[in-house]
């Protein structure tokens, strides 16, 4: 009944309504004077049926005001700097002699805009490693940052639970986007002589350039060394492989099980390392090495990043853009991604389904919508019960 008065407006009501919306818009945008505030309050008291809309607008406004710094902007800045360098403005000369970016620039001097965007997009790096052994405490998106001027080394730890992501700014200004179910650790020594972090799970890194202090990411099965660039590292315990994908610049990867060899990645490449199933709880790097003697050699492969048609962001780094994306991956692997993304658990009652290949890309779909979409192209049955998804 109360809604009827909204749809069946008279001309007079329409005029009055417009005043309401004018005042509402002013209120949301922080432009309301105190006289207008009284006027709005009075209108709302007289029209309690508007309460829902008022609530809807404040939700809408509150929500959009927080626009996090996007990886897209950071990549665009990289391209902007390159363009400036080509035109003779080198604004980053201080402290840098020859950096990773010079490789790209030599080849790109004559490249037109389009190609150059593609190259930059190719610089996102994804690293996937096995699991981390160093720290054991658990918490949900907590930051335990403590670095008082004492001699002891303090740890900072940031972690995310399933279904959530977060962004961290490190003391040197580098940014890390931490994907769901991940953990990043560093000590108060960070940045003093060397920049070192430990990662379990997946992170997209935008590292501030500093040739004197290399940035090193340790994961259970690989270490990644960079001078300043953007890349993605994926290293979830229990995953079959660890990956590092490079979008821009260059990185050096050392696989723990082959410490003598360094793998240098070029933009648009990723290194995939087959994890040893037992990496998750090794107490120390030493133990790790000893243990691997009895295990088979890891399989290491360098591959190109995967791009979906018409998409400038690779499948490997899509999550940092709030996109859940997969291309020709087995249902088991996809289920792992979805478990983290939606904070649910998958169970396969029909093992034949585990190996079917899936592709998909979801931005704001709910779990039910995503499952429906997958079912549409692949014949399987499923049931969602709370946080449990069963595949038949």
């Amino acid at each position: 009944m109360f809604l009827g008065s909204l749809t069946g407006t008279t001309a007079l009501l329409r005029m009055k309504n417009d005043r309401i919306w004018e005042l509402m818009a002013r209120k949301m945008s922080g432009e309301l004077s105190s006289g207008e505030l009284d006027e709005l309050d009075q209108i709302l008291r007289d029209n309690p049926h508007l309460h829902f809309s008022v609530q809807a607008f404040s939700d809408l406004w509150r929500h959009s005001s927080t626009s996090p710094i996007s990886p897209e902007a950071i990549e665009a800045y990289g391209r902007h700097l390159q363009k400036m360098k080509q035109l003779g403005f080198d604004i980053t000369t201080a402290g840098t002699v020859k950096d990773d970016e010079s490789v790209l620039i030599e080849g790109s001097r004559k490249i037109p805009m389009k190609r150059y965007i593609w190259l930059a997009a190719a610089t996102l790096v994804a690293v996937l490693a096995g699991g981390w052994y160093f720290f054991s405490s658990q918490s949900d998106i907590t930051v335990i940052a403590s670095a008082p001027p004492t001699k002891e080394v303090n740890n900072s730890e940031v972690s995310t639970k399933y279904g959530s992501k977060t962004r961290i700014q490190l003391p040197d200004g580098s940014q890390v986007w931490l994907n769901a179910g991940s953990k990043l650790n560093y000590t108060s020594e960070f940045g003093k002589t060397i920049r070192e972090v430990q990662l379990i799970g997946e992170g997209f890194f935008d590292v501030v350039k500093n040739v004197d202090k290399p940035f090193i990411i340790h994961t259970a099965s690989i270490d990644i060394k960079v001078l300043g660039t953007q890349f993605n590292v994926k290293s979830y315990p229990g995953d079959k492989t660890s990956e590092t994908s490079l979008v821009r610049g260059s990185v050096e990867v050392v696989v723990h099980k082959r410490p003598d060899q360094k793998y240098i990645l070029k933009p648009n490449e990723k290194i995939v390392v087959l994890n040893d199933d037992r990496t998750t709880s090794s107490p120390s790097p030493q133990a790790e090495v000893v243990k691997t003697k009895e295990v088979k050699e890891p399989i290491i492969a360098i591959k190109n990043l995967t791009y979906k048609k018409g998409d400038s962001v690779s499948v490997e780094t899509a999550w940092a853009y709030n996109k859940l994306s997969f291309e020709d991956e087995s249902f088991v692997e996809v289920a792992k991604k979805m478990e983290r993304w939606y904070d649910v658990e998958f169970e396969f009652r029909n093992s034949k389904m585990e190996d079917i290949r899936l592709q998909g890309s979801f931005i704001r779909e709910t779990l039910a919508q995503a499952m429906e979409a997958l079912k549409y192209t692949n014949r399987f049955k499923y049931e969602i019960d709370g946080k449990k998804v069963t595949i038949y």
């Binding site: 417009d18 919306w21 818009a25 665009a76 604004i91 980053t92 389009k114």
Partner: protein, 191 residues
């Protein structure tokens, strides 16, 4: 987006110290809204990015004068508008452009509907409504709600009056209200 005081401080660092970190911060903070604003004129992403890049290149060249710019935010938007129009002219695509022909891109505001009392379906509806607003209305709605600009700033950037902004936003809100109410009505009926 940084606060006006923070922006002022970044301007100062840029002017006094040639501070690259401050420059970077400004670029990154403004990139997305400016790129979207440029896009509404030139209608291609590559070109929109190039325009932002050009404008920021001039900021670097003129960094010494940064402190004399009263409202950098307005300055940036106006520069984007002018540069975009210059590009269009150069391409001879158009001699003049009216705000009513702009192609406004909006951020999706569906990031986490579960945090809101609105259902995803309703948010979808709102998004559709906003997307189908007339260009002028949509642009003003975007600049105020999404980019967080003040009424006075938008008036200055688009060369319109504050009264026009009031009117256009009232139109937007009335339409959204209608979409949400109809939807709610249906939900209630079904129960």
């Amino acid at each position: 987006m940084p606060s006006p005081t923070e922006i002022k401080e970044l301007q100062r660092r840029l002017a006094v110290y040639d501070d690259e970190a401050a420059y970077r911060e400004l670029f990154i903070a403004f990139y997305k809204p400016l790129q979207q604003f440029a896009f509404s004129f030139v209608k291609t992403r590559d070109l929109a990015e190039e325009i932002v890049s050009d404008v920021f290149m001039r900021i670097w060249e003129k960094r010494g004068e940064m402190e004399t710019i009263h409202n950098l935010k307005v300055y940036l938007y106006v520069s984007i508008k002018n540069t975009s129009l210059k590009y269009l002219l150069k391409q001879q695509r158009q001699v003049a452009i009216s705000i009513d022909e702009l192609d406004v891109e909006l951020e999706s505001f569906l990031r986490t509907p579960e945090e809101l009392m609105l259902t995803a379906e309703m948010m979808n509806k709102i998004q559709q409504t906003v997307n189908s607003l007339p260009p002028r209305c949509k642009l003003i709605f975007k600049l105020i709600k999404e980019d967080g600009l003040r009424y006075k700033e938008v008036a200055e950037i688009l060369n319109i009056t504050v009264k026009t902004i009031d009117n256009q936003l009232a139109i937007a809100l009335r339409k959204i209200n209608k979409a949400v109410s109809v939807d709610l009505e249906r939900v209630l009926r079904n129960n």
